[in-house]
């Protein structure tokens, strides 16, 4: 007997919403670390914006301000050996992976002390030591590459999981779905993290996406998706733990849609005419991830104002030092123009 059309099941394995409110838990020292890490990203990006305004940073510079909880929460769920890869809004990811603020800032200013010795710039930095695989400027390209890292992990049986971050804009790229298909087909240990900051440059999700609930985008590949409050570092951490465990257990990828918001323009040259000033102000006032963490710490009595001020001061120092280094580090030697094009055949 033919099934009635109305009997059609909702997309399999796709959860509709995050579980009902239960209090997110954290240990005091964990929470203080998340606060510190998010603050470092915020202050670093503010300084980068300032240096850009002074003409010390050029080209494209995409700031992560507002989205700090996403990468901080994900990092908290990762284990040694796990990898991260993202698109061009990448400064926060590098700082979360403990790449030095100096090295990142000096790359932004195009200096010898930068992670790519000045040859990559804002969008192209890497650290094989810290398991950061870029920093990719082609929208969506990091998604199959991230799945490829997962392919290598599975092949080498090293137990590692790769986290591939991309935006709501990239989630409309065809290659993302090619990667979804193979990642599930082969149950690769990869987690797809969609940072939905609601605008792909100036185009809002609803103007670009037929299905605006992006965590459902894996349903036709049997990939489970979760919608996550990307402004809450603990919600992010808990979701990431679940997804990473799922991948590490050999069950394949999961999709985490992080509902987040970018306070600044798409890049430094963005006049942000596509959204109202009120929308930005309201989000900052009501959903700011750092304010939330700060309030939680004070509420719980895990630290007092003085202790938080000490953290603020420490961060300020790190960022000032990075900015200074980024200006003092020399430009790369002209001979650097010709290096790193090809490796010698016998490169060990």
């Amino acid at each position: 007997m033919a099934k009635k059309p109305s009997a059609k099941k909702p997309a399999k394995k796709t959860k509709s919403k995050a579980p009902a409110k239960k209090k997110l838990v954290a240990k005091p020292d964990e929470m203080l670390k998340y606060y510190r890490d998010m603050l470092l990203i915020r202050r670093f990006e503010e300084k980068a914006g300032q240096l850009y305004g002074m003409g010390l940073i050029a080209g494209f510079c995409h700031l992560y301000i507002g989205q700090e909880a996403v990468v901080t929460g994900c990092k908290a769920a990762m284990k040694d050996g796990d990898q991260m890869i993202t698109g061009y809004r990448d400064h926060g990811h590098m700082l979360a992976l403990d790449m030095t603020a100096k090295g990142v800032m000096a790359e932004l200013t195009g200096r010898e002390g930068g992670y790519s010795r000045g040859k990559g710039g804002s969008m192209h930095m890497f650290s094989t030591e810290k398991k950061f695989y870029g920093g990719h400027g082609i929208v969506g390209a990091q998604v199959p590459i991230g799945a490829g890292l997962g392919f290598a992990n599975k092949y080498l049986e090293n137990g590692a999981v790769s986290l591939a971050f991309f935006g709501d804009g990239a989630s409309n790229q065809g290659q993302v779905y090619e990667a979804f298909n193979m990642a599930k087909l082969w149950d690769l240990p990869v987690v797809f993290v969609i940072e939905n900051n609601q605008y792909a440059m100036g185009t809002s999700v609803k103007r670009a996406s037929a299905e605006t609930e992006l965590y459902k985008r894996g349903s036709s590949f049997e990939i489970e998706g979760m919608e996550v409050d990307g402004m809450n570092v603990l919600a992010v951490r808990d979701a990431a733990q679940k997804a990473i465990k799922h991948a590490r257990d050999g069950k394949g990828p999961m999709i985490l849609e992080m509902k987040t918001y970018r306070y600044r323009g798409h890049s430094m040259s963005d006049p942000a005419k596509y959204r109202s000033r009120d929308e930005v102000t309201k989000t900052r006032a009501e959903r700011d991830p750092i304010d939330w963490a700060r309030a939680r710490i004070l509420d719980e009595g895990w630290a007092d104002e003085d202790e938080l001020k000490k953290i603020d001061k420490e961060i300020k120092g790190i960022v000032a030092e990075a900015a200074e280094f980024a200006q003092e580090s020399p430009e790369p030697d002209p001979s650097e123009l010709w290096t790193d094009v090809l490796l010698p055949v016998d490169a060990a």
């Binding site: 192209h124 890497f126 998604v143 199959p144 392919f151 992990n153 193979m182 090809l342």
Partner: protein
């Protein structure tokens, strides 16, 4: 009259095949759609279906027969009311329609007109790898097809290094669309011989990620025409990342597959991409001609720590050449090879055009012109030193390629020769290349479009002022 069932062509380039098995016997009744037989070539096996109804009257070609020409009558089918008396003599192979309604020209005994622009259906000129400084003397030679040489190269490197794996469409269970990965699945298993969905952009990206993650992928494209979907990852992700990372990120990967004009497949399946990839720093680009180079260079490419684009040629896959019988035969990347020495004019080519240049050299010899033939083998890095040295000797050069002329490999070589050996030139450098149009399907137009031996001869005479 009985219906003649003929040997069908499995591909545009197939000329003959093996009738491996009959699934009907004389006296059987068959309907449209019934499977009559299995036939195979070195590339594929296929079932022959009946398009008619009737009774099997006579099996003309016995099971197990090899070298059955396309178009030869293999079975005669009796229609309703006919008996064995109606069989008559089978029509001669070339005439009338082929099975399955395939359009055949039908006068030459060939399934299709030659893809060649010359009239000679002769095989590719043989080469003497023994003259190669990279091959020790007194080494035993084994006759090998380019297809098997490529396969052997992959198999040897996979035995040598556990991190080498091959991925692509139909590489595993199907044994390769062109049978280049034949039997690799059986030896190395599904972990290392990975069938992908039809998703070039995606699996090229996964390959690059796997290379970043410590593996050495061999990514097969069914043809480089399809790699257009993946060229973003080849260039933006594979070629540029070492530089953009200040030397941190390695991408040891080989992108390989057939490139260039095949035969009668139209513009979207007949495109030489050598010039496209040769334009990109951070890539190595290889386009071998004979089986020894195919093997030695592919092994070197797999070991190379850089991304390599390895351009094969479909029309050379089935050609047989000598390959040295050595445990570990490698050809260094970036070295061209003088295929034939001469003093009057330098002919430069790569891949299939090397054969055209060698043929041209023979014709020219008959007219008193002593041509030197250089096989580039590697397109990037381009070994222009060998070319420059040759031009200093011959004072004349003809650059040949199967692709288009504008911004092509020939244009690049001509520019370098003018730069570095201007005072040695007795004539402007000449170029031979594909007509500046998308490759046409019609047999005559296709032949007109592609550069052939005669074009090389003509260009050589021109620079020798003997036209």
């Amino acid at each position: 009259m009985a219906i003649d069932i003929k040997m069908p062509a499995l591909s545009p380039t197939m000329e003959e095949g093996t009738l491996s098995k009959w699934l009907v016997k004389e006296g059987d009744t068959v309907s449209s759609g019934d499977i009559l037989a299995e036939i195979e070539t070195d590339k594929a096996t296929m079932e022959v279906e009946s398009i008619d109804e009737g009774t099997v009257g006579k099996i003309i070609v016995a099971e197990g027969s090899e070298g059955v020409k396309v178009g030869a009558v293999i079975l005669q089918l009796l229609e309703d009311g006919e008996s064995a008396d109606d069989l008559g003599a089978p029509a001669s192979a070339p005439e009338s329609e082929a099975p399955k309604g395939e359009d055949q020209p039908g006068t030459t005994g060939e399934s299709h007109p030659k893809d060649d622009s010359t009239d000679e259906p002769a095989p590719m000129p043989k080469t003497k790898p023994a003259n190669d400084p990279d091959i020790p003397t007194n080494i035993k030679m084994v006759e090998t097809t380019v297809r098997d040489a490529l396969r052997d190269a992959m198999a040897e490197e996979m035995r040598r290094d556990e991190t080498v794996f091959v991925m692509g469409e139909e590489v595993a269970e199907y044994q390769g669309a062109y049978k280049v990965t034949r039997e690799l699945l059986q030896e190395f298993g599904a972990k290392r011989v990975v069938d992908t969905p039809i998703t070039e952009y995606g699996f090229a990206g996964i390959g690059v990620g796997a290379a970043f993650g410590g593996l050495k992928p061999i990514v097969e494209f069914m043809t480089f025409n399809f790699a257009m979907q993946a060229i973003d990852h080849i260039i933006n992700s594979a070629a540029k990342t070492l530089y953009m990372s200040g030397g941190q990120m390695r991408c040891p990967i080989v992108f390989r597959g057939p490139n260039g004009a095949a035969s009668r497949v139209g513009a979207q399946h007949s495109h030489d991409y050598a010039a496209w990839y040769a334009n990109v720093p951070g890539l190595k680009v290889i386009a071998p001609y004979d089986a020894a180079d195919a093997k030695g260079l592919l092994k070197a490419a797999i070991r190379d720590p850089n991304p390599v684009v390895f351009l094969e040629h479909e029309l050379l896959y089935g050609e047989t050449f000598d390959v040295p019988d050595m445990d570990d035969f490698l050809i260094p990347i970036g070295k061209s090879k003088v295929r034939s020495e001469g003093s009057d004019v330098t002919l430069v080519g790569f891949a299939r055009m090397v054969g055209r240049c060698l043929e041209a050299a023979e014709i020219l010899a008959g007219e008193g012109i002593d041509a030197e033939v250089i096989d580039l083998r590697t397109i990037r890095p381009l070994d222009s030193d060998t070319v420059i040295e040759s031009v200093k000797k011959t004072n004349r050069i003809v650059c040949t390629e199967e692709g288009w002329g504008q911004s092509g490999i020939g244009a690049e070589i001509a520019a370098r020769v003018v730069d570095e050996a201007f005072d040695y030139l007795d004539a402007p450098p000449a170029r031979v290349f594909q007509a500046d149009v998308p490759l046409p399907y019609a047999a005559n137009l296709e032949a007109l479009s592609l550069p052939g031996t005669e074009d090389v001869v003509k260009a050589a005479k021109k620079v020798c002022y003997k036209d």
